[in-house]
Symmetry: D2
Subunit: 419 residues, 4 copies
Amino acid sequence: MHATRPTLQITPAWQGQQHYLAVRTYSLALAAPLSAEDQCVQSMPDASPTKWHLAHTTWFFETMILRPHASGYRVFDPSFHYLFNSYYEALGPRHPRPQRGLLTRPALDEVLAYRRHVDDAMQQLLESADAALWSSIAPLLSLGLQHEQQHQELILTDILHALWCNPLLPAYQPEPEPLVCLVAQPKPLRWLAFEGGLADIGGQLPDDGFVFDNETPRHTALLHPYALADRLVSCGDFESFIADGGYHRAELWLSEGWARVQQENWQAPAYWLSSGDPRLAARTRHTGWHVFGLQGVKPLRPEEPVSQLSFYEACAYAEWAGARLPTEFEWEAACGTAGLTGMCDQVWQWTRSSYDPYPGFKPQPGVASEYNGKFMVGQLVLRGGSVATPPGHTRPSYRNFFPPATRWQFSGLRLAKDL
Amino acid sequence: MHATRPTLQITPAWQGQQHYLAVRTYSLALAAPLSAEDQCVQSMPDASPTKWHLAHTTWFFETMILRPHASGYRVFDPSFHYLFNSYYEALGPRHPRPQRGLLTRPALDEVLAYRRHVDDAMQQLLESADAALWSSIAPLLSLGLQHEQQHQELILTDILHALWCNPLLPAYQPEPEPLVCLVAQPKPLRWLAFEGGLADIGGQLPDDGFVFDNETPRHTALLHPYALADRLVSCGDFESFIADGGYHRAELWLSEGWARVQQENWQAPAYWLSSGDPRLAARTRHTGWHVFGLQGVKPLRPEEPVSQLSFYEACAYAEWAGARLPTEFEWEAACGTAGLTGMCDQVWQWTRSSYDPYPGFKPQPGVASEYNGKFMVGQLVLRGGSVATPPGHTRPSYRNFFPPATRWQFSGLRLAKDL
Amino acid sequence: MHATRPTLQITPAWQGQQHYLAVRTYSLALAAPLSAEDQCVQSMPDASPTKWHLAHTTWFFETMILRPHASGYRVFDPSFHYLFNSYYEALGPRHPRPQRGLLTRPALDEVLAYRRHVDDAMQQLLESADAALWSSIAPLLSLGLQHEQQHQELILTDILHALWCNPLLPAYQPEPEPLVCLVAQPKPLRWLAFEGGLADIGGQLPDDGFVFDNETPRHTALLHPYALADRLVSCGDFESFIADGGYHRAELWLSEGWARVQQENWQAPAYWLSSGDPRLAARTRHTGWHVFGLQGVKPLRPEEPVSQLSFYEACAYAEWAGARLPTEFEWEAACGTAGLTGMCDQVWQWTRSSYDPYPGFKPQPGVASEYNGKFMVGQLVLRGGSVATPPGHTRPSYRNFFPPATRWQFSGLRLAKDL
Amino acid sequence: MHATRPTLQITPAWQGQQHYLAVRTYSLALAAPLSAEDQCVQSMPDASPTKWHLAHTTWFFETMILRPHASGYRVFDPSFHYLFNSYYEALGPRHPRPQRGLLTRPALDEVLAYRRHVDDAMQQLLESADAALWSSIAPLLSLGLQHEQQHQELILTDILHALWCNPLLPAYQPEPEPLVCLVAQPKPLRWLAFEGGLADIGGQLPDDGFVFDNETPRHTALLHPYALADRLVSCGDFESFIADGGYHRAELWLSEGWARVQQENWQAPAYWLSSGDPRLAARTRHTGWHVFGLQGVKPLRPEEPVSQLSFYEACAYAEWAGARLPTEFEWEAACGTAGLTGMCDQVWQWTRSSYDPYPGFKPQPGVASEYNGKFMVGQLVLRGGSVATPPGHTRPSYRNFFPPATRWQFSGLRLAKDL
């Protein structure tokens, strides 16, 4: 259908189309190492099957863009509206979240066909969009792509949890065993001082390109003098915390965190295997801690950032280290400062900020008003980005959020202190 | 490897080999309509994935026969011992039952390879078995095949439950829509009288061919005069019970049953869909009750036996009908009487007998001692057989058993009364 | 009001009146050592507060006898019907069982006033009853008194559980510390043989004085030759089971029992305290097992019958001892045989009989039809009687019943074996 | 023992003594309308028995002041340390919170004796304290008294919950039925505008008399222009919300709140009774909503502030009203402004602020470091004070906090909006 386009005009719609293609393809690439069985499994209510992510992100485009804006669009399968709505109350009843793993039908092949059907319709719509239509759908296209990128990170964290639940500990993407494994020690931590004062926080549409509504409105916040560690807390650091009895000293923990440590018998970050673990015995003669990740089980590398940490563990570590977590405002105001490493590309960093609305916050209008605002209670803000975050998705004002006991994300910490 | 066998001798070992082949092939035939995704899913802790059934029955032969008796046998994969042991405490720790659905690995293909590996080794063992070896392994072979047949029934009941949990209500095996559906009314129920007195109950090895240890020892029981209904309770009968308020009249129910009715809001047998069910709206214009089964959703057929019933519902129905359930002894003593229909080929029949040990019961020796005896508390006996029972598997002395709230089996009832 | 009775006629109604007085007074005597706080507490959903028992047994007479049969009877407080109905569905909604301990009002004094009110009305009714009325109410009177006696045993077992939950381990009725405590070893166990054959089981109204409907109809049962231990299993016996790893050997346990052992970390009978228990440290220098009972904490006495045992523990012990539990029919047929000690006066004895209906069983008519029959699933029969059973309450045909995990009753065991 | 004091010196220690007496007596006055049974009951894990509050506050003085500072002090009962420690991990193991209601022993009388014992020792200590000792114990005395006042409010809210769980709905303190009940409508709500800008937030020891550590350090916060409603949201206002379908409109609720509404079937504030409630039928002919409170059941008074509201309900109401909750900083900065009514004397007011630490927050040193800081996650701040708050206890910088689903406190709301 491109045959009739003699000269290429780099219009915003054309750029949107390219962006759409790139993001959509990336989702498939993430699913590629997984079998149909892998893509169907749900290992806990908070996680979703890969297949469900692939379908739900597609449903988002179908529901938010094609149905209202693509005249003559034929819905792929009317039952998918019930199956792949995530949490939009305004869009009617939906399949219960904890039962997503029961959906062996539609089969993976059918979901892939669904993606192709929607992708074709989206391409057609974008190609034929005039300026008026484009201005209507452009914000929804951005939102849908950002949405899909969020699910791309979840595809990785959710499948990693499922593989962790399998006693065989299969790797998502095995890497060749290195001939020599150089163990580096973490660099000594250095403190960078910040004066505080009034700081611009958040983003604003359209000045800042895309931002989520929870990052708005941009506003001024008052910061008191503080310092941030120049690097993330590393696995080696965290090993010292454990060796010093960190998981057995109530005084280091928030009360809820300590209760969780007892109830679930936490002894280390979620995906660490201790020397005596029977699952290790069969696969290695190395002793010492091992860590399970996207490449499978590997000996702990002291210099790597600690990950899969709950907020409780992050707080307890900071307490033990005589420091604290930064607030999300301190983090954002410092972001970009020379010398701060690992801000956005290794692990999300728990902050000491509850996920509250910004002054003057209003959810975006329309169906997507349920996107962020209704979750603003009982969660903590994480800032940064991780190895699982798709390229280009994050930014300094980005507010990620999870409940404090969450341990299946690429979540770690950076220390802060008062000056 | 068959090349050197010039003439065929119909020995017991050869017969065993044929039986082995037939049973093992039947399992694969049952799995054939299911995708890899279907075969991986576990819809509740009591049900298991098809793939797990296929592997576990294979593990049984490997563990009980090949490892102790086939010299030089190479275990297919050492980790499978942990993954596919069901409940044998004497064989060490095992994968937790509620997490069988998380085993996306080993993949289905690998499990099928496991079956072929064990089947080859079994064939070889049976072909080469001398009389001494045969006499050692023959009872284990029988047990292993009976065991696999039990899992064949569970393959069907478990996948049916999983498909029922899917809002699309896919059929396990769709049948062509009949051009005309003749609705027959159930035949009037007639009572057959039995004198009671002393009756031989149970079976005995080796007199009775194969029997499970829970059917032994054969012993005498004393029966009081009773009558049995000549046919099963039908869907039409049960519809009358519902129409008469059966699910809302506490006086018909055992106390535990009534509690369950309230808690889980039971209104009909487990897989019935009422006229207003939204899952019906999309697929049919028929009104009235529909029933979900192996062939998918069909309008209720009044003459078919009611199925997927808990013991509680069976008891409440009997109470409503002014009758009672038979004891397992009454059922067994009557089995084979001319005029009794549907004894072993339609639905298992709940009895009013708790699953207690027979006088003089001893579990079979060895590892298989855990097969039956350790479950003799808190369960009720069902007698007969069902449409899901593999041909030749059941017999009059067969004791099936489930907890009283069980609703995913092909379980119904036959009325009895005192004379 | 007795002033006008010049000569005493020992009529059945007068006897009933005396019996009524005796039973009702005994309940108060059992409550006497307890404070109002003690009488209000509910330590688990299965147990009830003493005050609730005192009120509920009173409600039973008010509801079953006074309201239908005492013309002009004034109900004490209409709200008590809701508060003190236990489980009679036919009598309407009632206060949820797990919330009985929240009823700080009515105060204990008010409940005692309720008892006096009903007792006065009952006395008046019984004094004035003519033959016709007497014949109507006599069966209900018997039932009401037997009912109250059942609750008398529960008053003791329920408060004992509550006191056990108190870290101070207060004694229900402290006894003076003996100057010298002679430790006797249990007598060697001897086996008494029984031929079996046809046995009369159960009781029949009115031939047998009072029997509950679950003991009827009297019928013939067939027994196979068996032997019973002449004495109960003792604490000393059970100590040997523990010392031999009884709580750590899966092969001794029913599957459900073993699961419970793991989940709740059972290590000994419910009210045993091991040497290192911190609650012991403060109160004694004795070492070795201690047992908590109505007289508080005392060093284990090897010759005393073991008590507060679940069915699972009883079965595991019997398995370990190379024996089994008797059926309820074996127990009943043997009861009264010379040489059998501790049949009805020390602990209830778990049998290997599920609580199923007798052949021909019909619940008694009327409201009391809910008394027994609706509980006939998922429970095991205990036979005998205990130190907590009120004098004269039990009999050889008496069927006590509890779920198999029950551990707060005076429940132990006697061994049996096949001959 | 006061006989030898000839002239009265109004020293700080003497003032402390008077304050001690007044606060301690007030606790007993709050308990006075309650029976021993009432004082023993625990209606949910989050609530504690009155008797436990009376003992725990006493334990606080014994542990924090008498044991370290009163030479020769004899501990009343060593076992009380285990029984009446609330949550201080540093002080060793303690009785599990959900089982406080099982403590029928020590009896109420014994707890009252405990109070007298500690009060005597405290009086003696305070009378004999020299300046050095006084300066050591003065902060602990303040803390202990503030602590006891916090428990005074809980005595009321906890017993009110227990009485609410009783179907008789007894009044804590019945008031005479008024001859005429004048129903006033709530005054029209007016908005008071605030400029925002930099505001001093929090308090500082010793400048501000007593403040809890969670109110420190005093610091500057930046506020954006806002308005506050001059009065609390009233029962009449909330009735309109309900009448407008407030509990059935997902779009008004936070996601977690909506889930709770569904799960627990919320239809109105926690202690409201709708017209058809069977508990009303027996006691009144009035129709319309009734509200249960310390004086028992009364017809809803439209002008009274709505109370016993969760954060979720407060947020949903604000959303419905086109407004929002104030932040805790907005509330504090406005406190004291003329025209704002009901700030500190009617109901606590939920704010839109999570209970996070202030910039520079450090828990107080010593055992009391566990007092506040370890609860700083998952809770929301309430500001103000209520009818149940003891006189003199609250202040503008006071930070009360509860989880968002809490519904048994005197908690309501005041509206705010952006300008």
